[in-house]
């Protein structure tokens, strides 16, 4: 057996330090995606024609090009235009922007699911369009989308190792460094896989539980 347990235990603390960075990037990226995705969703819903068309194409563009190339663009091109970012900030922006295309889609389905009558009723009560949207439609549209947003969070978590390519020392990068240092990749990389597996299994069970719970609440 090629597996070395004492090596495994010795690298675990360093890997967990990488995991902290991974989780940081995941949650910050998710927060960014939640906000930017809402901007896209609002523009698609209410903005005049040309702006709406531009955003529809932009979202389609972001969603159908590789996150890795987007990260390279943010990390290498923006400094040329005077915006120098640390690897972690570039990574968070990249993750957030990429997944804003997906959260926008989730929001849209939530907004479309609110019955037309809600808009009509709000208009009849003298609410303006924007006020109706913020105070009547959104509070009804968001709760049912929480499980879908949870799945996006898990997807961001699973895409966060891409940040290793722009030198963020998250979990995978940490494993790579350990592997190179000790000429043993088997243990660190397997541990990374196991950590990802455990965390995403737990979180997808949790999302599944929320789905059942929200169906019962309706």
């Amino acid at each position: 057996m090629a597996w070395d347990w004492s090596y495994t235990w010795s690298i675990l603390p360093t890997l967990l330090k990488g995991l902290v960075v991974t989780l940081e990037a995941t949650f910050l990226g998710f927060a960014f995606a939640l906000v930017v995705g809402m901007v896209w969703a609002v523009i698609r819903r209410g903005a005049p024609g040309p702006l709406r068309t531009a955003v529809v194409w932009l979202v389609e563009f972001i969603r159908s090009t590789p996150l890795l190339v987007q990260l390279f663009f943010i990390y290498y091109v923006l400094p040329q235009w005077g915006l120098v970012l640390s690897p972690l900030v570039a990574g968070v922006l990249g993750l957030g922007l990429h997944y804003s295309a997906y959260t926008a889609e989730v929001y849209r389905s939530g907004i479309d699911a609110v019955p037309k009558g809600q808009w009509d009723a709000a208009t009849a009560l003298g609410f303006g369009r924007l006020e109706t949207f913020w105070r009547i439609v959104l509070p009804q549209a968001i709760p049912p989308t929480i499980p879908a947003l949870g799945n996006r969070l898990i997807a961001i978590f699973k895409d966060s190792p891409l940040l290793a390519v722009i030198t963020v020392t998250e979990l995978l990068q940490q494993a790579k460094l350990l592997g190179a240092e000790n000429f043993r990749y088997l243990e660190p990389l397997t541990l990374v896989g196991v950590i990802f597996l455990i965390l995403s299994l737990i979180s997808s069970r949790f999302v599944r539980w929320m789905e059942v719970w929200s169906e019962q609440a309706v």
């Binding site: 390279f72 091109v77 290793a164 990749y185 990389l189 990802f196």
Partner: protein, 235 residues
């Protein structure tokens, strides 16, 4: 004004040169991974998707383990594991093999859930009718249920193929000279960073459009003669 015009012309000219390099030297590898990966993905998705609804336990269990393992970890981690860690266990594969098999299996694990969902969405009555007509379970699956489920699989399968296309960029990390690899190499040679990554993004975008166009055609073709689908017959 002329200054701006000059820099725009320059940007376009440089971009054109970049496009030629990426298409000539990167695109073939991207397309090879994409083609091989799609085949692996379709086979794995069907095998595991059918396995998940099968009554044969070992098949069901293997399928579940495969789907959970590949969906639960990250595509990049999988590439690294198969390329850097697996040799330690005595299995050494070429970078191209790892790229095609791992990215294909990754997409296939999501595809398996699409296959399973589509099969389960076929009304129970179809199974009962097939049983009443004397079909075995296997025959009913092959000749009654799968053909109906196939149409439902197409739109999500199209999205997964685009995810596979996006994932081919990860292959640069194991040294495959696909589009993103060429773009990175070109960046260190010429420093035309803005042009290079703009062109790379546009190239991927066009490829994705080709994939979704192809899938829409496939859907229309499969829908011929079906009620309730565009291109199908009336209800």
């Amino acid at each position: 004004m002329t200054g701006l015009l000059h820099s725009v012309t320059q940007f376009v000219a440089t971009s054109w040169g970049v496009l030629e390099v990426l298409v000539a030297e990167g695109l073939p590898v991207t397309l090879a991974i994409m083609a091989g990966g799609s085949v692996v993905a379709v086979v794995a998705a069907l095998a595991a998707g059918l396995g998940r609804v099968s009554r044969i336990r070992p098949w069901r269990w293997t399928s579940t383990i495969y789907v959970e393992a590949f969906r639960g970890t990250s595509a990049l981690v999988q590439l690294f594991w198969f390329y850097f860690a697996l040799p330690r266990l005595g299995v050494t594969l070429s970078a191209m093999t790892v790229g095609i098999v791992v990215l294909g299996l990754n997409t296939g694990s999501y595809g398996a859930e699409v296959v399973r969902g589509a099969i389960q969405a076929v009304p129970k009555g179809q199974w009962e009718a097939a049983t009443a007509l004397g079909f075995t379970r296997g025959q009913a699956m092959r000749r009654i249920v799968l053909p109906q489920a196939a149409l439902r699989m197409i739109p999500p399968a199209g999205n997964l193929l685009i995810e596979l296309l996006k994932n081919t960029a990860l292959a640069l990390t194991i040294g495959l000279t696909e589009i993103t690899f060429r773009a990175q190499a070109l960046r260190s040679e010429t420093l035309d960073t803005a042009e290079i990554f703009t062109v790379a993004l546009l190239l991927y975008f066009m490829l994705a459009q080709v994939v979704s166009f192809g899938m829409r055609r496939a859907e229309r073709r499969l829908a011929v003669g079906r009620a309730g689908y565009p291109g199908g017959g009336g209800a």
